[in-house]
Amino acid sequence: MQTKNIMIVGVGGQGSLLASKLLGHLLLTKGYDVKVSEVHGMSQRGGSVVTYVRYGDKVASPIIDKGEADFIVSFEPLEAARWLSYLKKDGQIVTNIHGIDPMPVITGAAEYPENIVDRIKEKGVKTDALDCLEIAQEAGSAKAVNVVLLGRLSHYFDFEESEWMEALEACVPAKFLEMNKKAFEMGAKA
């Protein structure tokens, strides 16, 4: 099979590392060759963060380039817009709609674009948008936005729910497991 590409984009500190770890674990157990590329260090301090997950028969490059992503999983709508040019023709966006103002917006040097998700949809891009923060809080923690999004993403894969749950069990500390399972299920059903 041709290599499939998933980009996870968001704001440093939103938990993209757990999302990529979980996807990597799941895809490897499904027998694929997998590469995951992460961002550590300076960029994690509230900056724009991107993680690449690639899988297939044999994966060479660890990163995803413009026009290549089958999925952009976005923790924050502005970040979906920022990385939009990386989406493949007919690619799918799965995004949280809860925005976080970047510093240039906070200081008044720039404006947060209005109706950003609608603007992406107007381009004919397949966009699945949901308020992950609200769902995560209902599930028990605002920090579970990442797992809510993964739950939603699971719609687009043929994997069994039990396989996703196994990956959750392998990647999430035991004391947060139940909350995360709930967040995943709520995301999947949203």
């Binding site: 961002v39 509230g46 724009s48 026009g67 290549e68 990386y86 493949k88």
Partner: protein, 580 residues
């Protein structure tokens, strides 16, 4: 069993399997996780050293004593460790000694994008260069074999995309190694007389290693039926080449960055119509090819700045590249920022109020240079703030105008960076006497690289109690009479200290002390809130650039999920509108 593993973790696994017993490193993105993962093996003693030079020298000592040793650092860290490296090349090793160095093409988290291969060539030390996690593991092990067989330290070169990418590896068992120490000053004590005898031995070693490179399994030719294009490449660039071309072109994949295999390259070149080198940063393989008289393309078509990608390789070599959708909307940037509750924020706000020239350093506080604070005049390298303020102030004394002499100047440096190489600069201030004010931003951790302990924190790499250097006592012992400790959450206290020390006619140190707000043991106060009735929309609270505060419908609003209750903003509100 196959598993996904981060490149740096795979290096650590390689160290374990190679029987390494001693690791001494200084954290630096993208190298840090090698040591953080190595410490998880009980068989490997690990430590954070105060800087890379100390780390490498400690590793050398352990090698001398007979244990396989390792030192990890980022590219600029190898500059700090270059002094021992260049002479360690002469002494060679007892037990295997490997230096892991991680380059950062694209400068994701660095102040330059130098190419560490230049150090391998300069120091006459072999360098291996893996292109994924499986190679990172295997090359780490091979490095110890080469180190002991050829009596040399070996450089293992990572880069951001190999260090911070996960790919599939398989584990093997550990093998144990220990060597006896035998006194041999002719080999290990580099007085001129001994070093003169050693230099030709090193030249001979490099000739032998160049021979080894000709048939080394890490240098691999992948021929294709189509010989119109031949690409020589290494590291992550190899992966981009394979992504674009698969098996449709001939590829010479070099796992050994130095020394390079002359005959292997010549033979490869003779079998292809067009020879292209695909390498990030410096034209090292390319220049070597040119030195052999080969006609080759490299930096004439590929950039020397920044990192590569499959798209860049495809475009440069005439293949089609995909394009994605785009919006006709200006997307505001999202630069990294100081976190909500960051203790550095209040200090930088006070420096701005005093209109200071800020001679800066490397760490989270470099972000104090970003708007709206914008309080960073200079950032060079680890420790440079303390040295440079002395030169700046002395120059003002010598030739400054009256107005220049009145200007407030401070150096800012973090606790870990101060331990790394700020202390020697401080000694210069004490010795050659300028009225410099050095502010140590003591957040009780090495912050930017992700919370590593250091000699001022009182804990070692495992989090166990360890020696603790008393910063105040250290500064006093160096001859500083004026050492003040302030809490950066208390703006009045910070300003009072700045007024006193900036006007003092002698050198001074201000220690701005408050643990990083992200540390697990730091308990946050309840989040604050803004009374919409009292808020007069003056935006005073916006001047500190806290990500938890924004203006919504003309009033300041505090995001409760981000606010740590530090109350710095509260001290700025002229209308007591911030409550909690």
């Amino acid at each position: 069993m196959k598993e996904l593993m981060l490149g740096n973790k795979a290096v650590a696994r390689g160290l374990y399997e190679a029987g390494v017993c001693f690791v001494s490193s200084y954290p630096g993105t993208p190298s840090t996780e090698i040591t953080e993962e190595a410490v998880k093996y009980d068989e490997i003693y690990c430590e954070w050293a105060p800087n890379e030079k100390v780390a490498l020298e400690a590793a050398f000592g352990a090698s001398l004593a007979g244990l396989r040793s390792f030192s990890g650092m980022k590219h600029v860290g190898l500059n700090v460790a270059a002094d021992p490296l260049y002479t360690m090349s002469y002494t060679g090793v007892n037990a295997g000694l490997v230096i892991g160095v991680a380059d950062d093409a694209g400068m994701h988290s660095s102040q330059n994008e130098q190419d560490s291969r230049r150090h391998a060539i300069g120091a006459k030390v072999p360098m291996l260069e893996p292109s994924d996690s499986a190679e990172a593991l295997e090359f780490a092990k091979l490095a110890y074999e080469l180190s002991e067989e050829y009596d040399t330290p070996v450089l293992l070169k990572m880069c951001t995309r190999v260090a911070h990418s996960q790919s599939v590896v398989e584990r093997s068992d550990r093998s144990e190694h220990k060597k006896e120490y035998k006194k041999d000053p002719g080999k290990y004590s580099m007085s001129p007389a001994n070093a003169i005898r050693r230099h030709p031995i090193i030249e001979e070693r490099m000739r032998k290693l160049a021979q080894y490179a000709e048939t080394a399994p890490v240098n691999r030719v992948e021929y294709s039926d189509d010989t119109s294009l031949g690409i020589i490449t290494s590291s992550t660039s190899y992966q981009y080449v394979k992504e674009v071309f698969g098996d449709s072109v001939c590829v010479l994949k070099l796992g050994m960055a130095y020394p390079l295999p002359e005959n292997l390259i010549k033979t490869f070149a003779s079998k292809v119509d067009r020879l292209v080198v695909v390498e990030e940063l410096e034209p090292i393989i390319e220049d070597f090819c040119k030195g052999l008289g080969l006609e080759v393309s490299g930096k004439d078509i590929f950039p020397i700045c920044g990192e590569f990608s499959q798209g860049l390789v495809a475009q440069t070599l005439g293949k089609e590249v995909a394009e994605g959708p785009s919006l006709e909307v200006e997307i505001p940037g999202r630069p990294p920022i100081m976190c909500a509750g960051c203790p550095h924020r209040g200090l930088f706000f006070s420096l701005k109020k005093k209109d200071c020239t800020v001679i800066g350093d490397i760490g989270c506080y470099t972000l104090g240079g970003a708007p709206p604070l914008g309080m960073m005049d200079m950032t060079l390298c680890m420790g440079a703030s303390v040295s440079a303020i002395h030169g700046f102030n002395r120059a003002r004394e010598l030739k400054g105008t009256e107005e220049e002499k009145k200007k407030n100047v401070v150096a800012v440096i973090g606790d870990s960076t101060f331990m790394h190489s700020g202390m020697t600069g401080l000694a210069n201030i004490a010795y050659n006497m300028t009225d410099s004010t050095v502010i140590i931003l003591d957040n009780s951790i090495t912050g930017m690289t992700g919370h590593q302990q250091n000699p001022t924190t009182g804990y070692n790499i495992k989090g166990d109690p360890a020696g603790k250097i008393d910063l105040e006592a250290l500064c006093r012992a160096m001859g500083f009479n004026r050492v003040t400790v302030v809490d950066p959450y208390d703006l009045a206290a910070v300003e009072k200290a700045l007024d006193a020390e900036l006007s003092a006619k002698e050198p001074s140190v201000i220690i701005s002390r408050r643990p990083c707000a992200l540390l697990k043991y730091v308990k946050h106060d309840p989040p604050l809130s803004v009374s919409a009735d009292k808020c007069k929309s003056c935006k005073s609270c916006m001047k500190i650039g806290c990500p938890a505060i924004s203006m919504k419908e003309g009033k300041a609003v505090i995001d409760r999920t981000q606010c740590t209750g530090c109350k710095v903003c509260k001290q700025l509100c002229p209308f007591d509108a911030i409550e909690g």
